[in-house]
Subunit: 303 residues, 4 copies
């Protein structure tokens, strides 16, 4: 896609955002109480499934791995009467190319603004004074829909560099007999996690499967509330001239869509297959990190 | 309570756990698919509420505060074409006396064992090989019930050092016209957060309101799946001779109850009052920390 | 001191810096090879003394304490044949009000510039591209001189809020029979550590003993290479209208003096007294933190 | 070397340690005041040189890199009158295979004891109660001697897997016209840093140049006070059957020698060549990490 076409697409998507200049919630506005209440109706089996992967250790796609260190061991003598505790401490980057996380709307600056014209100076060394992940503190709760592209194509996974188009998303809907609608949290599986599990990690910053920018038109039309993938939704190398992360720009900065990166659908997939359904109640609960640019998350699907 | 009485209570509660010697999920076993599916029926308004407080900064109850530092600012030049990112890094203790978190079943060693006879040596410097928070990776999803003790007593909060008895839990049920049952996630509000908000933080390690150990009998009888509080559920100073954390010991080590500490109910309270109901769908999604002794969490109530 | 007087003092001191517009080492330039070689002559007893305090835990002057967590315990089974290691991890702020550290010349922005006209934009989220602590990577080695102000005044320590003037530094020289000269690393003891040890920590951000801004004239005249104190050299509350850290501004930003904050002289003091001398070889070895604004340090005095 | 030979060597070296059962300083005892004072006589040029490398970023030999994040940027508005500060925070492992650090005597457990019979249980999750790096808080100051093995062999570096024998150390002494003696801090250059700089990093845990265990006999005879290398002193794969780190075991656990790992001699080498001498005053100043298993360091050579 040429730089000019991308710019036109970006401007078109940005113009159609209906929430007004002071909005800071973006596509979360599609999650009306009625839709949340309706989404609870997706629960039939009472089965819950994690959509996150365990926090990863060092690998070619994880140059600064999160670490967890013990502060206290329960087998050691304690100075507290009657009990010894196990306790630990966590150090981790919020973003990166392997741990499951959510991007706040302050995450992306394109052409001098964050989402909805907010100035990038709203994010300082002290954090984001606007568009931080705290704006999603009450959770993202709605109907989740999983579209499984490897299933559609009859492959085990999409190879790095490959892109999922809007047409494929529509074809997956038809094949899976599900229709993505307003307020849905859309999950697009490209098979990244399965490939990583079977072939081992690689340098994902250089090459990975993702969505084609034209898929953002589809998301905008369907009025989805958030987008998650087992990749980070952006293909590498980029198919857009002069833009390394066109989906991040279109989704977060233009449409106000929270992105969920590097999720894990290998547990959800058999659960959906067994249930014969591809929709479920979905609950995403970011940590309450004031000023944060996102959060590690463990989205839960409830079938 | 004398040390002997506490020991008798502990042994009685521990003996009645019905899950067998190899169980590692404890009271989460009460969360059957049927109960999870039924809990979804609690959703009527489509309103979601956070039960966590924002990660706190240094205070008398927070000697080692979590920190969040920027890795990249979106207003700075980027070496990525077409975009600049905001990114940050998180350092935080999993436990402590102010940030909302969940305790895994490996958290408590009493009398030489963790829950269900697991040896404390299962937790090493490399983490917990058994009973880690990963055992709750699919989330804790069920009916949540809030019992509001300050409301029952007609006070703004319980003063530090005060304890909630089993009888008071039963009285709160009657007053609130709700009954706690099998698989419920029980939340007991003692007003800790409101007191902290209005009077400022104090040294919570020394004095705080909590539950009386006899309340654990009530929880066991009602077969609750997990217990959360805006305190850490344990009164300080302890009412039990020779045991500084009797509720932690009885709940986690004897009953296999995951505890949720230092939650925040100041948003949930008016929501329940407005709805005229004290039950809701509750989703708790711990981070996937392999070997972890717990996790920071943001439990979501859905009314 | 009025704002106007301070401005005049600042401009006067800044103008007299002789190193030229491209200089990035500031007063370290006074540490010529000749002076370093001569400083080695201070070593007579072969006695070495630390000038740092142990990394501190949480306290009123330490709201974000450094932490050290174990990664491996030597008593645990090892997967390495023939050996088990003890290993740990360190998290700490470089600055703050209790741990001994050195300030790099990028640390202070006054009136829109860092030292020697360097723009503050030279420091981004990626660190300092100029004036970082890496400029002192070969260590600061020279003659150290300790001036002990409580000794001069016949008190155990200076009370918080009190200031050491240039006249007092001169008086201490006379009393101690030592003269501060070009290239010396000057240490000024105000008794902060002793007060902290005996009375316990207090909120040092609000009130502490330090140097009067006029002492910077003395340092400039004597051409000292670096300045250290058991306080942070700046009195609180400030004696200068509109400037909370006048000594930091004059020393670091105007004169290019590396400051060493919150050192510990309680070991050095008796060593000097026993030796009957107040000068010694001093070696300061900052960690090699690329882009860093300073470093934790353990300066060593060799008598 | 067979396991039996290694055991015999270990026992022989351990038996000859002359400091008594309560000693905790090991070979630092060789650093008598007389020797420290004499070492100051090595200073002639007044030239100082760092023996550390900059803290490294992610690489095949650095799976958990240290990170440094900004806490405050000096170009941002400040709430402190008259000044804006640059400040940062440091997270780093003390050991590892790339950052220059010192190993404390608690670092190595062999055959159920640390140095001098101290039980490994002296190191708990709270740190080392004995043999921590705090025992070197007054610094390690003495005559440093650099033996350059690539120079002796006429190569640019030793290839990974190669070992320096006692005989080679003696040959290097002869070639360089220097003699290692009691209390010296010995630095053995194998060319690791030069190879890394020219060929790039590799998986050092698997293959690296080091010292042959018989070199420890030489060190014991010469009564050196500490040993540093641009490698970690241990060859990989190990030449000893059943012991992956024989030099660590012999040096730290048997002889009580502090090891300095992954130093950098590329600055020192030309300085020594220019001076026509291979000895210098050396100052090593570990951070004051209570209970610590070592410390990042920046040893300073003063010629």
């Amino acid at each position: 896609m040429s730089a000019a076409s991308f710019r036109a697409l970006h401007d078109r998507l940005r113009r159609q955002v209906p929430w007004g200049a002071s909005d800071r919630r973006g596509a979360l506005n599609y999650l009306t109480p009625e839709r949340i209440a309706a989404a609870a109706g997706e629960v039939r089996l009472g089965r819950t499934v994690t959509l996150a992967a365990p926090v990863a250790s060092s690998a070619p796609d994880n140059p600064e791995p999160g670490t967890r260190h013990m502060k206290r061991l329960p087998g050691e003598p304690s100075d507290v009467p009657g009990v010894s505790f196990a306790a630990d401490q966590l150090v981790m980057n919020v973003h990166g190319d392997v741990d499951s996380h959510i991007d706040a709307l302050c995450h992306v600056n394109h052409d001098g603004t964050l989402y909805n014209g907010v100035r990038p100076e709203a994010v300082t060394s002290q954090g984001a004074s606007e568009l931080s992940i705290e704006d999603a503190r009450n959770g993202i709760v709605g109907r989740g829909v999983l579209l499984d592209i490897p299933r559609l194509r009859g492959v085990r996974w999409l190879e790095p560099g490959d892109s999922v188009t809007a047409a494929e998303l529509a074809a997956a809907e038809t094949a899976q007999q599900v229709r993505v609608g307003p307020g849905d949290v859309l999950f697009v599986r490209v098979g990244h996690r399965r490939r990583r599990g079977e072939l081992g990690p690689w340098d994902v910053a250089k090459t990975r499967a993702g969505l084609h920018p034209d898929a953002m038109v589809y998301l905008a039309e369907r009025q989805v509330a958030a987008l998650g993938s087992d990749s980070n939704s952006d293909t590498a190398p980029s198919v857009v001239e002069g833009s390394a992360f066109p989906v991040h720009v279109l989704a977060i900065q233009a449409l106000g869509l929270h992105l969920l990166d590097y999720l894990q659908f290998e547990d959800l997939l058999p659960a959906c297959e067994a249930a014969g359904r591809w929709s479920f109640l979905c609950v995403i609960a970011p940590l309450r990190l004031r000023g944060g640019t996102g959060s590690p998350v463990n989205p839960i699907a409830i079938l």
